[in-house]
């Protein structure tokens, strides 16, 4: 593994760590459920995606790279779906309680 590929992989890994830090700060500091969900969805897709791309550069062409690509596609498909399901559940619950108050 030459030095240029290693530097590119390290940059991808550090970028992913930065997005995980941003998502966790949003999860702690934001005031509302939907604001927290907005921060953590960024953390899931971008942070996990950049760390997995960095590891794919680290492994080169092998079977492990295909498996990492499988994990990446799975995370990119399922995390927006999970966020949408949580948001729908919370929104319906708030709407029902507001209708009962009226």
């Amino acid at each position: 593994m030459n030095i240029a590929l290693e530097i590119i992989a390290i940059l991808f890994l550090l970028g992913g760590a930065f997005f995980f830090l941003v998502g966790t700060m949003g999860l702690i500091r934001m005031p509302d459920v939907f604001c927290r969900m907005h921060a953590t969805t960024k953390c899931d897709t971008l942070g996990a995606g950049m760390i997995l791309v960095g590891l794919m550069i680290f492994y080169g062409f092998s079977v492990i790279t295909l498996k990492l690509l499988l994990i990446l596609i799975f995370i990119w498909l399922t995390n927006p779906t999970a966020a949408h399901i949580i948001a729908k559940a919370e929104y319906k619950k708030e709407w029902l309680t507001k209708k009962e108050e009226d």
């Binding site: 290693e6 992989a9 390290i10 890994l13 550090l14 992913g16 760590a17 995980f20 830090l21 998502g23 966790t24 999860l27 702690i28 459920v33 927290r36 969900m37 953590t40 953390c43 899931d44 942070g47 996990a48 760390i51 997995l52 590891l55 680290f58 492994y59 079977v63 492990i64 498996k67 990492l68 499988l70 994990i71 799975f74 995370i75 399922t78 995390n79 779906t81 999970a82 966020a83 399901i85 949580i86 729908k88 559940a89 919370e90 319906k92 619950k93």
Partner: protein, 88 residues
């Protein structure tokens, strides 16, 4: 050099998982706790992949695939339970 970065990111992700666990403990609504557990499951998936790179154990990547599926199914099941009050 990349090994040191991977060790540093593993420790960083473990600390961040504990910070998310704090939100899962104090969260005012149940949706907050579901969000925190979802983020922790993504972090543990990435942590297992990093450990596979550090220890040269290629079978850990398969464990990571299974862990990602388990986290997604957990989130969907708990959200459906929150929405309807029952699972089916």
């Amino acid at each position: 050099m990349i090994t040191h970065v991977m060790i540093a990111i593993s420790i960083f992700l473990s600390v961040m998982a504990f910070v998310c666990l704090y939100r899962a403990y104090i969260g005012p609504t149940p949706a907050d706790r579901v969000i925190a557990i979802n983020v922790i499951s993504t972090k543990v998936t990435i942590l297992i992949v990093l450990l596979a790179g550090l220890t040269n154990q290629d079978s850990f990547v398969d464990v990571s695939i299974v862990y990602a599926m388990m986290g997604f199914i957990t989130t969907v099941a708990v959200s459906k339970y929150l929405e309807k009050g029952k699972l089916f």
